[in-house]
Amino acid sequence: MKEHRLRPPLDDETVARLRAGDRVLISGTVYTARDAAHLRMVDALKRGEPLPFGLQGQVIYYVGPTPTPPGKVIGSAGPTTSRRMDPLTPILLEHGLKATIGKGARSEPVKEAMRKFKAVYLAAVGGAGALLAQRVLAAEVVAYEDLGPEAVRRLTVEDFPALVINDIYGGDLYEAGKAQYRNAL
């Protein structure tokens, strides 16, 4: 298991170095988007309209934080279940998105799109919203403010921890981990 420090935007070379099971620490910019924001972004792409941010090389974090308490940068901010975004993910990868962060398994079409468009899927620890919030230095709503917790935010993160679940070679940490420990009791 290797550890990588990532600073988005990510290029193909960086993504190619990542293998399922590797640990990453992300510093810099990631964008938040979940169900409702995905629907709007995909709609915009289909109509040829501009997106809230350029996708090339970027990272999307699937999160809907709690409201920000006074004196804090963001509320609790752990990953949500990724599979809900599966039908809307390949088109974003096609347009240059290089990594998504969430929790839980991805669909076959998403895995195939990751191989084809050279992108990775990362998992943060689901349920660790208070811990992950501490790795967020700044948060700013950049689009779809009416969506509340589902608005698109630009997050500045430091040493945000995640694991590579799916790499561009077909590696899958969830499958490998489960196979290794099946009947291990």
């Binding site: 509320g75 609790s76 949500t80 839980g104 660790a128 208070a130 489960k178 099946r182």
Partner: protein, 286 residues
């Protein structure tokens, strides 16, 4: 002669205050039973990635308490269990509204997320996480017990119900429970607590599965036969290999809690309701 019945008045305002406090505390401070279960899980886990995930979860619980912020951003739909003593009389207001006002104040004032839409099809957020889902049972006595279970939907989405036949029997029931956890895999944020409801009718089995989750994590059922079933299911589930956060390991579930009820000669209703790696619940007796 009509026996004299003494009623006890409980103010709706006190109920609101209690629910407000329970919503905040449940979401911010994991109960001691759950913390203990996580520490035991950490000691049992052999997979390095599973250990690392459990370390992050334990650290997260400490940070949430210290910083007074929610353990998880999905602060759930508030499920409220009421045990109302039959001698209790609620005064100064409407019981349901008192509870919802408590949820409103707890979620808005506690900076918890509003995750509830007012209509399941039109899907407009109610803006204060109301209404709660309220389960009421009338019991002897003059007290009111309130339990708040904030239920995140990462795990709730994997709820399953099967109406098995006597011929399919216990073997099919066990397979169904294990398969339900297997299907949820990493998505339900393991290590999960597995609520299993057996018996009753279809909706009652699901209710029992949910109710099983408010038991302190890992406390066995008082009936030794049911406790043995819980232990066997837990071992089978932990042989799946899913592990903490799905990274691979021997702790896929912290505990299996089974609740049962008499049922019809024709069927064995069985429901599975999962709690995620944040087994939150808090109760108070008024």
């Amino acid at each position: 002669m009509v026996p004299r019945v003494t009623t006890r008045a409980i103010s709706a305002r006190d109920i609101t205050d209690a629910v407000e406090r329970l919503c905040r505390e449940a979401n911010i401070a994991l109960p001691d039973d759950a913390m203990g279960a996580f520490e035991q899980a950490r000691a049992r886990e052999v997979s390095p990635m599973g250990q690392a995930a459990l370390d992050q979860l334990l650290e997260n619980f400490r940070i949430a308490r210290q910083e007074q912020i929610a353990v998880c951003q999905d602060t759930g739909m508030a499920v409220v269990f009421l045990e109302v003593g039959q001698q209790v009389q609620v005064v100064d207001g409407d019981l349901t509204e008192a509870i919802n006002e408590g949820v409103r104040r707890g979620y808005v004032g506690g900076y918890l997320r509003y995750s509830v839409v007012g209509d399941p099809l039109k899907r407009k957020n109610t803006g204060d996480n109301t209404p709660a889902v309220i389960h009421t049972s009338i019991v002897p006595g003059n007290q009111l017990k309130i339990t708040v279970l904030p239920k995140g939907f990462g795990a709730e989405m994997w709820t399953r119900l099967a109406m098995l036949t006597p011929a399919q029997g216990v073997a099919a029931l066990k397979d169904f429970v294990v398969e339900s956890v297997d299907r949820a895999g990493p998505d339900a944020c393991p290590p999960v607590t597995v609520g299993v409801g057996i018996g009753g009718t279809a909706e009652y089995a699901v209710y029992l599965a949910k109710k099983a989750l408010i038991r302190p994590v890992g406390r066995p059922h008082p009936d030794p036969d049911i406790a043995a079933l819980e232990a066997e299911l837990l071992e089978r589930i932990n042989r799946l290999g899913i592990g903490p956060e799905g990274m691979g390991g021997v702790v896929t579930a912290l505990a299996v809690h089974v609740e049962t009820y008499p049922t019809h000669i024709v069927g064995i209703p069985v429901a599975v309701n999962l709690n995620c790696a944040a087994p939150r619940h808090k109760e108070v007796v008024l």
